[in-house]
């Protein structure tokens, strides 16, 4: 398949692109699921039973991964937007590193919040 070439990077830069695409796709799929899921709000009972599953400890790691996708996609998205507006191409490596560090921090924080609260 030719589209597999999207995921055969030669440098960190296009590795970041591959992940942006992957996470974007995952998030979009999740969005569809999410909306379908929320449709059950019309029936409180089904909703409550489903939500009980999603906040269960088995589901939390998955949720946390999803959040990682979201955070990576968002922060990397900001990085891409900066470049797409024509800025900071000379510092692209530094930006990538900063972006990666922020992603990890934000993700650890988010995971902590999720486990803490539930």
């Amino acid at each position: 398949m030719r589209i597999m070439k999207w995921f055969k990077p030669v440098s960190l830069q296009d590795l970041a692109f591959a992940f942006q695409r992957l996470t974007g796709f995952i998030l979009a799929m999740y969005l569809i699921l999410h909306l379908a899921f929320l449709s059950t709000l019309s029936d409180p009972l089904t909703y409550e039973s489903l939500i009980a599953i999603t906040v269960s400890p088995t589901f939390l790691p998955l949720d946390s991964l999803l959040v990682l996708c979201g955070i990576y996609h968002g922060l990397n998205g900001i990085r891409v937007i900066i470049h797409e507006l024509g800025y900071l191409h000379e510092h692209r490596k530094a930006l990538l590193v900063i972006c990666a560090i922020l992603t990890v921090i934000a993700w650890l924080y988010a995971t902590w919040v999720m486990y803490e609260v539930v």
């Binding site: 030719r2 589209i3 070439k5 999207w6 990077p9 030669v10 440098s11 830069q13 296009d14 692109f17 591959a18 942006q20 695409r21 891409v80 470049h83 797409e84 507006l85 024509g86 191409h89 000379e90 692209r92």
Partner: protein, 235 residues
Amino acid sequence: MEFRIRRFDGENSFWQSYEVPTKKGMTVLECLYYIRDNLDSTLSFRASCRMGICGSCAVKINGKPKLACETQVSELKNPIVVEPLDNFKVLKDLVVDFEGFFAKHKMVKPFIVRDDIDYNSPVELIQTPKELAKYYNYSLCIKCGACVSVCPAAATSEDYLGPAALVAAYRFCADSRDKDCKDRIEIISSERGVWRCHSAMACSEVCPKKIEPAKAVQLLRRKAIIHSIKKLFRW
């Protein structure tokens, strides 16, 4: 050193290994010539200037596109794997088809457009060093194709103009002597143009002339979006 070369004879693709006695200072291109002259004269590859300026000799060396004539073997791990560029049709061995590549370059109108040029009695146009600096870096493209060979957008979209052609487009749009960038903008703003780029920036990473094609594409994108907004408000 062992050279593993991916070959193609018009019908079949296969790998072949050669043992080349290398010395300090030898480039990959010299090794290819050594192979052709002494071991196997059926090996085809392109090369000419052997000083990194003609753009003929870009091949994939140990997975990354490089100019064979500028790559020292001493910097590489044994075995050295040489393959033709990706995203191009292979014609024979390391030789790939550049027809589409040059057609795209031609498509972006890579020449100065202004209506006050008199062929028979040309006059000196004034351009300050500062104006020159605005586009000079982008005029250094040797059309080697390395950028296109790694661009994920070019990998799946044959008709994407690609970083090299877009560099050429930007180079002329940014030239103070050019008076009609609009036509060019319309062309690069098509669905085969800048919008296919997703800032993978592999192009900038591999460009042997350090031109930053990705930046040229984004600066063009900026021009294109301003052009579109202006058009929307008919201004």
